[in-house]
């Protein structure tokens, strides 16, 4: 159950920028290297020679569908799972065999993980207590961290008295209190409602950038990954599909899976003229990572909604079949032959493109990703 959002569910804008702790000039986190990790559960290979390097102070999102191995990768890094093969290096030190409690990593979990028998301050101070900090120092540090996440006035409240958003913010403060080498976030926003999720996302990112702490963030929500991460690692079946900065991942996906998992794509079958792909009558170039005609005789181009243009034309081959208003833009479903193309247009333009309007479809971008052909549904 997600408790209702309250006025203090999310810190006021700019709260995270309040100077509660000294702003570091250099990253406080350590670099992480995951070397060829494999982990099998029964017949399922959760991680298959998974390798990833994360720079100090970087926020990397592990993105993928359920069962792709992203949580297993995080748990191996945290020390809750032992890899069958491979190494985990933190700050250049091999920690593969080190138990979780000695790894110096703060973690925020998907479900509410605050200790029910402790108030917010005691929860935040728990890690410091384990490090034998004195009561006064612990209290001061906990208060400082609670102020950082905008919950100073809730320090004496118990978890059951806090909303879901507040609990996750206390959990974040608790993870940060120990000044971890790496901060691990395991889908911490998935149990929250949309508004709180969006605001807390910004707050986490602001705090991470201020403290420059190395962070690994697991999510299945592409919007979350693209908006928060320095780099996004898209995973599938225990392996990495692509690791890149969000803009590049969206604009230049290197596999069909990434193109379809991240953002929205439409498929159009490519024809060829002198070995060069022709899409919608326009000569194009194949993007790196594209499938080759040697492996597949028929190829499709994957196109983003903003890569396509649409113009009203009585003689046009395509027809607008549906439109979805998204605010500044409107997404049109345009039927071309047996294929439905998703095309984004400005909403004032879309007002003139009601369903049944005949249109002509063109391309904005002449560099396209070619993938193996797939028959359109319903053909």
């Amino acid at each position: 159950m997600t408790p209702d959002a309250t006025a203090t569910d999310v810190a006021p804008t700019g709260q995270a920028a309040m100077p509660a702790t000294d702003t570091p000039s250099v990253p406080t986190g350590a670099g992480v290297e995951l070397r060829s990790l494999s982990r099998q559960f029964g017949a399922t290979l959760a991680l298959d020679r998974f390798s990833l390097t994360i720079a100090p102070g970087e926020l990397v999102a592990l993105l993928g569908p359920s069962g792709c191995g992203k949580t297993t990768a995080l748990r191996v890094l945290a020390g809750f799972e032992r890899p069958d093969q491979g190494q985990v290096l933190v700050g250049g030190r091999d920690v593969t065999r080190l138990p979780a409690q000695k790894r110096d990593m703060g973690m925020v979990f998907q479900s509410y993980s605050l200790f029910p028998n402790m108030d917010a301050r005691a929860n935040v101070g728990f890690g410091l207590r384990m490090r034998r900090w004195s009561g006064a120092k612990r209290k001061a540090r906990a208060d400082e961290l609670l102020e950082l996440v905008g919950l100073a006035e809730h320090r004496t409240k118990y978890p059951h008295q806090l909303s879901g958003g507040q609990q996750q913010r206390v959990a974040l403060a608790r993870a940060l209190a120990i000044e971890p080498q790496v901060l691990l976030l395991d889908e911490p926003l998935s149990a929250l409602d949309a508004k709180v999720r969006a605001e807390l996302r910004e707050q986490i990112r602001a705090i991470q950038q201020r403290l420059l702490i190395t962070t690994v963030f697991v999510t299945h929500d592409q919007e979350e990954a693209l908006s928060m991460a320095d780099r996004v690692c898209v995973m599938r079946a225990g392996r990495i599909e692509q690791v890149d900065v969000p803009a590049a991942l969206y604009a230049r996906p290197t596999t069909a899976f990434v193109a379809q998992f991240v953002g929205v794509s439409s498929r159009i079958e490519a024809s060829f003229d002198a070995g060069q792909p022709v899409i919608l009558g326009q000569r194009c170039t194949a993007r790196p990572g594209s499938a080759s005609r040697e492996t597949s005789a028929r190829l499709d181009a994957l196109l983003r909604p903003e890569d396509l243009t649409v113009t009203p034309d009585h003689d046009g081959e395509a027809t607008v079949v549906h439109s979805s208003f998204l605010g500044g833009t409107t997404r049109l479903d345009v039927l071309l032959g047996a294929t439905v193309l998703k095309i984004d247009v400005r909403s004032d333009v879309a007002a003139r493109l009601s369903p049944s309007t005949r249109v002509r479809v063109g391309l904005h971008n002449d560099e396209v990703l070619l993938v193996e052909h797939l028959e359109p549904e319903g053909r």
């Binding site: 945290a78 979780a100 703060g106 890690g127 384990m130």
Partner: protein
Amino acid sequence: MAQVDTASIDAEYLLAFDRGAPEASMVAKQRRRFSIPWFRWLVLLLAALFFIIPLVAGVIFSLQNDAGQFSLDSIRAINQQIGFSDAFRLSLQLALITVVISMALVVPTAVYVHLKVPKLLAAVEFTTLLPIVFPPIVLILGVLHVTPPFLKDHAWFLALFYVVLAMPFAYRAVESGLQAMDLQVLVEASRSLGGRWGSTLLRVILPNLTTSLISSVVLVTALVFSEYTMSSLAGWITLPVWTEQFAQANGHIVTAVAMLTLLGVWVVLSLIVLVDLSRARLQQRKRSSTS
């Protein structure tokens, strides 16, 4: 102070109810929930009488002398009866040992099975229920036959049997507490913050198991104070054995002992609940004063 017009509130409430306002219908639902049909009251009454009548009869009998008149002589005489103090002390000692061993055995086992081998939960639960299936007389006679005499001379020996006998109650109480908490996440949260297994158990798991542990301790204690077969066959005069032996001599005194034992358990239970409540109130006061 502003005057509150209760008549207008009632009218508004009725209007809201007529309109089918959500709040009003919720109140109506709650009222319906608390309006118990007469036959349920009857079942409740019969069940209450079933438990209360023997207790009342026992109290009345213990407060009578041989002539059938009201008298506190039976209660006054308890402490002077030969063997009572020793039997009571032995039962108390056995209860303490049994509780300590049971908790030391059950809590880490239940936690370990939940965290590491959850597939074995059903098997472990079945195993802990076995002492109910086997009659205590079979257990004690078999073990007594092979036990060296010097081992039989210590109360610890009997306590070990009680640990086995109390296992179903001790385990189930702890198990229900563990199921009510998100154990895996709490343990992982503690470990990621640097908590070792010992501190995780003491500072995170046990404080959230308080109610279950209290239930477990009370059940184990009650069992030790009422077990007769094993102690009599092993030759120990515990409170139930003494009660049985002394019953031949004076029924009024024995009934008074049974009633006082029951009262003692009730008082201890009430104290535990009161301490728990006052602790919660103290925390509440602390919260309101600091916030």
